[in-house]
Amino acid sequence: MAQVVVKISEAWNRFWFTGYSAESLGLIRLCFGIGLFFFNLTQLWTLLLIDASGDPFYYVRPVWYFEPFGLEHNFPRLDLVLLATLQLATLSMAFGYRTRLSTLLVIVLVCYLRGVRDSILGEGHHRYHVPFNLLVILAVARSGGGHSVDARRASNTGAPPAVEEWQASWPIMAMQVYTASFYFWSFLAKVRTTGWDWFFDPRRIQDLLLERSLTWGVTAQGEPVFNAMPYWLSQQEELCRLLGVGTLVMEAGFPLILLVKRPLARLAFLAGVAFFHLANLVLAYVSFALLPIAFFVFFDLEKARLQLVAWRQRRARDVVSGSP
């Protein structure tokens, strides 16, 4: 029994606390942060179109966390200022300037601005869930310890406090687990609310495609006036079935990526998921196309960077020595 406990403990420690450096975590923060800058724009761009000098709009239904603060309407001018602040804080976090403070500011501003967007029409979107959870993990962890302005400033003023392997590894693993879980929960939600028909009955995908094909208007014959692709695809039964089964494989199988260690295998799988999101945007206008900014967490980017540096050095040496 004691041996089993020891083995479980060792496996737990190996899973959560080994494998990554402060630089790995820093590069993930940098790439995710830059991606988040654009993600914010894709999610909040409608706020830019509100007349800043116009009257506030009283929300149809405020999001649940607005109610305790009595937030009943938007503040057109202030919201624009806060959106600009969010973008600056996002870049500040990405480049590791006062990393924790910047990350906390991003979290607060994302909560507020996402709340404004959703409250206007009383909606509840889940597009920020993955980035938001990643932000929380980055805020709790010591994510400014590598590839950051903070680390550079600390090294200029003396020896920077070392970020140990376990301190860099657990946030990366937590981000991986959350992202993989999110897809898996989508699978569970479909099975629970609709059943297996969601994946195996081609009429599910057909229904979605037909509904979305009418977004821009429709002719008297029921054909879309713009973007005929979803309408055409909705009539291809086997392709619709394939898309349903593909969704099942992707969502239910996503957690298996945690067991796959080969970067190329991970890259191939995640490229497929990124294509899925892109196809969703083109065919069904689902704004998840930039969610793959979260996929940086599945790679040791520092290892890749060092390999690239070594390759460039070898190439430079070869050029100097004249060898092909």
């Binding site: 737990w12 959560w16 239904r61 029409l121 869930h129 929960w185 609310t193 979605l208």
Partner: protein
């Protein structure tokens, strides 16, 4: 944070998430992944026809003094995308008190004002088609009417 504290944090974090999933908290903010999950098999597929011009004319409204008018997106200070969603989706799904309150508050009307909006009407067309023959379509015209109820003054 010590390594032990991180272990406790991770266990607590996993427990909160998976408890929410296990108890099917569909709108729990950390695990809500239910969008697009719900679907019912139908023989007749019905979709609201979106005429990209009609929503720009605004909502037809009736005021307390009986006058009829139109409220456009410029008056509500809504961008086109929000107006589109409001006109073709939300107005047909959201409860009347929420929408009438939102419109009146935004336009600065109190319940006793002659300009207070007591009715919003939105005509719309639904296109039907058989699931096994999607080229066979027919349409029906409807009107969504949201009427003010004086009982709602209490929560004004």
């Amino acid at each position: 944070m010590t390594r032990r504290a991180v272990t406790v944090l991770i266990i607590g974090w996993l427990a909160v998430h998976w408890t929410a999933v296990a108890y099917e908290f569909d709108h729990f903010p950390l695990t809500d992944a239910g969008m697009y999950a719900n679907w019912k098999k139908k023989e007749i597929l019905s979709y609201l026809v979106r005429d990209t011009e009609s929503y720009k004319q605004g909502f037809t409204i009736t005021r307390r003094d009986g006058a009829t008018d139109a409220v456009r997106m410029e008056e509500l200070n809504l961008p086109r995308r929000h107006m589109y969603q409001l006109y073709f989706q939300k107005i047909h799904r959201r409860p009347a008190p929420l929408l009438l309150r939102s419109f009146n508050k935004t336009l600065g009307h109190e319940p006793d004002d002659p300009g207070f909006i007591v009715r919003i009407t939105v005509p719309y067309v639904v296109m039907h088609r058989r699931a096994d023959d999607i080229g066979n379509v027919w349409t029906e015209s409807h009107v969504t009417t949201l009427d003010w109820d004086e009982k709602w003054r209490k929560s004004w």
